[in-house]
Amino acid sequence: MSEGPATASGPTAPAIEGIKLSRAFGGVQALAGASFSARRGEVHALVGENGAGKSTLIKILGGRLRADAGEVRLAGGTVELDSPDAAHRHGVWTVFQELTLLPWMTVAENLLIRREPRGAFRLIDRARMAKEADAVLAGLGIHNIDPRGLVEDLSLAQQQIVEIVRVIVQDPDILLLDEPTSSLGENEVEWLFGLIRDLSSRNKCIIFTSHRWKEITDVADRITIFRNGGELGTFTEIDENRAVTLMTGQQVDALYPERPALEAARPLLEARALNGPGVSGVSLTLRRGEILGVGGLAGHGHRELFFSLFGAAPTTGGEILVNESKVRISNPHDAIGLGIALVPEDRKTEGLILPMSVGTNLTLAILPQLSALGVIRGGHEGRAALNMVGKLKIRTPGLRNPVHQLSGGNQQKVLLARWLLADSHIVLLYDVTRGVDVATKHEIYELMTSLAREGRAVLFYSSDAEELAHLSHRVLVMREGRIAAELAAPGITAEDIVSAAVREATSIVG
């Protein structure tokens, strides 16, 4: 390699460098000659929209993907990281965005995979394995994860923690984390940042991606911004608006649109003393044109509440009213019939049928209207879907492309569009902006306010307290399955929401 800057070496060289890295998937250029470097002892954030190339870069640095062109250098020397194992040998460890845990194996088996303690005849000693896992978890201040339990039975946040712990125990020199906080609550994020600060104080190099600006500025020493597969520069000091402008290539005046005016309208959805697994005695009223936020730490019953309002989780008591009359919702079909829509966090397993086309996914809820004698009329399907793609600015090559080809934010929009097509009046949004880039977030916010303006009612849960504070007319904070506080606009702050949520709350870590 004769190109590129002269090879530096010794203690002054960056811990890890990517030089003019390129990588294409099919026809899409995910990385186009991006360069990047990070030093020892620093926490380095990579920011950019979804599809800007951050994850691809992380995968290349972590040995999970090979670059089409360019090179990776460690401490100044070029290295071939052609497998995760090769990266591990160089002390480079990655917490990937998509979890790499094995669901039907125990936490201990996952934590110690390929490093299992051996007993007689070199067979794996399971009792010792559980004990070692116990010690590892306790040593990192985690008490509510049982190493003998199956990963499948853990919450998303707990799984993410196991994923992080698994890498931390390897004592990495260079730690790569791809959106490690997207499924964590505030306490868990603090725990993670504690670990990160500790590592950086021990002269390790930490590189992470996040869409939450506050976290980035909290913990990162330097920030590199990516757009369209290339880097736009590395900053030690940059304000959010400037960063967003760089990331999106356009001016986003205000991330949060103004709340629509709220009139004294009739209630559209009411819950009275709703009980069920994880939900105890929740009452709420959602009015026409209202955006009602629900906040609180992960695992405090929001999910159960949303799913029971949609008929996808059981209730054991209480009643639900739609349009001021009592209704029975025992499955999602009932809910859809009553004009209730749910957009869940895990769009992959709970909302979209990934291998099927964008068009089919869009029109799934209105198939009966589009069908004649049970046969779907293709033309109608296409027209309805096409309208929505334009309206919501869904970036897809075409209606016939399978949904899994779209980026996360656009998948989320497909799901939203499905319910708009179905003319649902009550829209339940469950953490829809998690892991979604800032520009798409802005579009989703715009969409939420326009839904409210049209006279629909929006109930939304978010793990991002800022979002709740800026968009909601009112915020209900849940703690241990109950409504612990109600905050009303104007004057809601993220701090209010968080402090109402953490009061006496338990968490996975600590």
């Binding site: 845990l101 669901p103 194996m105 390929r114 049982d146």
Partner: protein, 332 residues
Amino acid sequence: MSAEAAIERRRTRRLTHFLAQNVGLVLALAMLVMAVVLYGAAYWIEQTALPGMFELTSTVNNTMALVLCGMGQAFVVVTRGLDLSVGGVMDLANALAAVHIKDSVGSMVGWSLAILAIGALLGLVNGLLVAVGRLQPILVTLATLSIYQGLAIRVLPQPGGSIPPVYSSVLVNPNWPTALVYVLVVALIWYAFRRSSLGVSIFALGNDEQAARANGIDTVRAQIAAFTLSGLMSAAAGLFLAATATAGDATTGNGFTLSSIVAVVLGGMNLFGGRGSGVGVIAGAFVTTMIVNILFFSNIDPLYQSFYEGLFLVIAVVLGALISRLMRRRSR
């Protein structure tokens, strides 16, 4: 919650964890107990006596082939695959044994090892086609099933040949249930497999191929190994079949492809891979044999035997699914 309380709660949950994680195994064992009781009852009604050593011996001897090929099938099912060539490998092993195994110790040991090696090789071919050729396991093994059956017919066109009596009495002693030792050996093989790197790799592959690879596991190697083990176990099953029949028939293995799957299912293994116990499969194999025995003593017309077998299978699967769902919900 304090750390001490958390640890205490964890202890009490350990048993629930074990039960929840091994629902399939527990159910398979429970089913075996039920089958034995039913069999005893049917036998008593018919003979006004309890089954004794002779019945135990013949049951164990008759089940050995299914235990072995069921275990082979289990290795593949864990990877989320299916090996339909099990019966073909058994046919070929059976035919080779009947033609070649002669009365000398050298011939018996030598040919047994050779046949096991051939079985492993046939499994290896399946594994290479599936893992390296990236083909569907069902397609590959459906094709190799026919090929292996064809080879078996080629080796032994007509039923015949012979198995030395000594060979038969070592593998399936008609007077004593010595074959129980082999059942124990098969269980130990599973125990060791589950605690080996290979076991971890094969189970990880069945859990999630992508995640397994991200953990640095060579999934191609694991898949090839699973099919090779299946071929090896099926060849051993073929040898037992020959020993039981004391002669060879190149078609007797055919039915075992399906019954090996039945044993795996009754053994509580998940056909979607990554979950299940080989010990359960052993129990499943015995339950399969016991059902036939129970039907025999219940004076059910042999014409309807497969009808009742199927009925029993459906009931067992439905009940198993219901109970395991309940238990898992409890443990959460």
